[in-house]
Subunit: 513 residues, 2 copies
């Protein structure tokens, strides 16, 4: 058994049985070891951003850590953006990054790069294996780290000689340290605060997609506080049967209005609401000046325990039907196509339990609005704001949930960052319906430019508008092995999306409206 084999055995023994891979030469012994472990599922992505985004989506929908297999420094660089997104989503990921044999690093070979530096710029945990006999223990430590604190990015750097030299058996990841909990005094203080006029409880994490949300709603019933959620959340249960709560939005001014009469804010799983960007003359924080903010429980702490303790402290309120979203399906649209009609069609047609990955940027809001009362579903967004996560996240979600329909909403601009994921959908036969909003423009940038008070001239047009030529989405889909269709009427979209909902496997629908 060599170091690479000890690592594969360790991953399997530790419950990591899926690898999103984009291998290179320095990982060849690890590849050979994976080949001798046919029970490990190896999923090829044709670009590293596909691997890290898929691992993010996989963790969010399964709660399980996947591994990525990445070539040394530049390969990790290609994975960086979606590792950033995974980090912000608190998704547990184990990256196995190849590295030159340690003695080879004395020389300036082409691929030599700062593997530790780039890893540390995004990983919570980084380790370089020093010896083949250490690799099993290092791999187990990486899995433990990835599972700790509600999910972390852990990177194990594997010098080639530690992969090919002799090792001794596997290790098993330890249970991660228990999640931290607030003190009894903090629980009592939060309970008191939530009874004040103008109090709000803002929750995140499991409270947004499991029945823990009902615990939060009962606290709100018992105390009379508002129940709120952030705009960006890794996973949210929506539609019929979901717990009603008030979510923040993207725009600073709208959030300031939403938060204007909140005088006490208790945070449980959620961070302090912050503007996506700073703008001249606008505040970074969303709460009104003077708001009392109690950071009761961070996203890396025990949210379930905290909410249950808080419920005990306040004495449980009872929920009624009014606390849950009712099913209310829009009628199927006809005629010319608008974003509202796309939303209506999706809301009408998508099945119970669908997983929606939304990276439609400016086109996404009408779809979110239309689907708010659709059949129960879950909603995933790009947590780190780095576009190019949508398609890979959909890959990971579909691998995690083969029995569920995955719907990926993407802007045309954002889809172009990691379009190679279409091929992985085709290769793996994943049940993903990709809807591309082909407006042929980075529309959000035009909006942000207007927000800073500038008008658009020639250079802006050259940098914001994806015209001359327009992308041909049907051809792009076909090129990757996915059937694609372009829709410019509501009837065509209803037909195409309806067909996709009842036909397993990948589909791409380009919407132009």
């Amino acid at each position: 058994m060599n170091g690479a084999e000890s690592l594969v055995a360790t991953l399997m023994a530790s419950g990591v049985d899926t690898v999103f891979a984009n291998p290179g030469t320095s990982e060849m012994h690890f590849v050979a070891a994976l080949d001798r472990a046919p029970e490990m599922r190896c999923i090829l992505c044709l670009f590293e951003g596909g691997t890290s985004g898929a691992a993010d989506g996989y963790y969010r929908m399964s709660g399980k850590v996947a591994a990525t297999l990445l070539h040394l420094a530049p390969g990790f660089g290609n994975a960086f953006a979606n590792l950033h997104n995974a980090r912000k989503a608190r998704s547990g990921v184990v990256n196995i990054m190849g590295e030159h044999a340690s003695y080879h690093l004395a020389h300036e070979s082409p691929l030599k790069g700062d593997t530790v530096g780039i890893s540390q710029a995004v990983s919570h945990w980084t380790r370089v294996s020093a010896d083949a006999v250490d690799v099993a223990g290092d791999g187990a430590a990486a899995v433990t780290a990835a599972r700790a604190k509600g999910g972390q990015v852990a990177t194990l750097i594997l010098p080639a000689n530690t992969a090919w030299e002799a090792a001794e058996g596997s290790a098993v990841a330890a249970a991660p340290p228990a999640l931290r909990r607030p003190s009894g005094a903090q629980i009592a203080a939060a309970a008191r605060a939530l009874r004040l006029p103008g109090a709000a409880l803002m929750v995140d994490g499991v409270a947004l997609y499991t029945d823990v949300g009902q615990v939060a709603a009962r606290i709100a019933r018992a105390t009379g506080c508002r129940l709120m959620g952030p705009f960006f959340a890794p996973r949210v249960r929506r539609g019929a049967g979901a717990v009603r709560m008030q979510r923040l939005v993207y725009e600073v001014d709208a959030n300031l209005a939403i938060m204007a009469d909140v005088t006490t804010l208790v945070l449980c799983g959620a961070g302090r609401p912050t503007a996506f960007f700073a703008y001249p003359g606008k505040p970074s924080l969303n709460e009104a000046p003077g708001t009392a903010v109690l950071e009761l429980c961070g996203g890396d702490m025990d949210i379930t325990w905290t909410l249950e303790a808080l419920l005990s402290e306040v004495g449980g309120g009872a929920l009624t039907a009014a606390d849950f979203v009712d099913l209310d399906l829009p009628v199927l649209p006809t005629g010319g196509l608008t974003l509202d009609k796309v939303g209506a069609a999706i809301a009408h047609l998508m099945p119970e339990g669908a997983v929606v990955v939304n990276e439609a940027v400016t086109s996404g809001a009408p779809i979110a609005m239309a689907t708010a009362t659709a059949r129960g579903h879950e909603w995933l967004v790009t947590m780190g704001g780095a576009i190019g996560a949508g398609l890979p996240t959909a890959v990971g979600a579909a691998v995690a949930c083969p029995e569920r329909k995955v719907i990926c909403l993407s802007g045309d601009g954002s889809a172009m960052y990691t379009l190679q994921s279409l091929w992985t959908m085709a290769r793996e036969g994943l049940d993903v319906t990709v809807v591309i909003f082909a407006n042929h423009v980075y529309k959000i940038l035009h909006g942000e430019l207007a927000a800073v008070g500038a008008t658009a001239g020639r250079n802006v047009a050259r940098m914001f508008d994806m015209v001359e030529p327009r992308l041909d989405w049907v051809a792009l889909a076909q090129g990757h092995g996915v059937a694609g269709v372009r829709c410019v009427t509501a009837d065509a979209f209803v037909a195409a999306f309806g067909r996709a909902m009842v036909t397993p496997g990948p589909h791409l629908i380009a919407v132009e409206c």
Copy 2:
């Protein structure tokens, strides 16, 4: 004038008039400033790896520094791999990386990331502007740094508030410090060494693509030493009229054989020849044990001055026709297609002064062999070994040399990393002919796996083979707005490539053989 405007004015005043851009919101004031400078050429890339690879190709063919415009940490991450390649090519690049307003960094917004950390992992020079009034000076310092030491990667991080706050005019980049030169004693010692039996002079940099190569050849004539070049070089003049020299190759064993009877190696512009990867039981260095190695002049030093001083020291030898490559064109192939026939067709048809960007990986060697005696041309390769550089480098080369035909040879695997560059070729009407070697496999990985003594099973097939489905290259080209054709016979390839050589603008030819 705000900080962003002072930066644009500084870039223009310093001779930087081309920006390869993939902008985001945090750069909006810089975008607005670019919009007010219509004399700045802004070229949109739909993925950041396109910007950094294009800046690399642009510098190599023009000697001029271009700027990239990158979104904060994850956007820079997407550019990382081709910045790594640019670094290894000694290409001068100025990255302008956006950043949150400095006061906004106190809060955990989605896009907040380690901008300095990721920059320092690949840049020679990193600076964060601290104040709007500093931005002009910082920008000039970045350009100076990018031009120093024969070309460096310089990254200026621009917090949004330093872009939007008031500044005062522009600055001009200083001339970079003079290149270091070896001492007279070192020159004399090198001259003595080159007269020894078994001596070789290995050159790189300008000696490989300008008439400085003839200086090196005259030194070889005068001393009787062998004239050599490395395998990986940023820019090489090849074909008829090029100076003959012995180049190293990729394979370790072959290089060991080439170097076996070199007992004294003088390096001028070239680094110590190093194996691309380490392999069990094989050395990292290419020279025979006991070889005397004189590192006379690094790639960051004054190669031209050094070779001229060395020529004076040894007393100039005269060159004859035998020192130059003769034109010898293969006949046009017919019948079934092989890589040798693709090479013959390219060699026969490509025009004088063509620029060949080669990232064909395993398919490239037969093309290189066939074109060795073609009309005079230049040859660029991926210097950092990170695939995904070919198409972007071709973009940059074509922008730098609009009067020359650019031919981009790419593996199908490598092209998939940065395929978005096809769209930029179409948008800018670049005269690039892309030849995709569509063997539907990461063939080099199969070779490397065999080299470590492993056989391929199911997981290797799942990770190395791009089949089920096959990529459709004609559709992929069409999707990006480029006319594509698939060739499976020599006659078809001759027709398609011949047409591309006389028709300006982008073309894609997929070769399956």
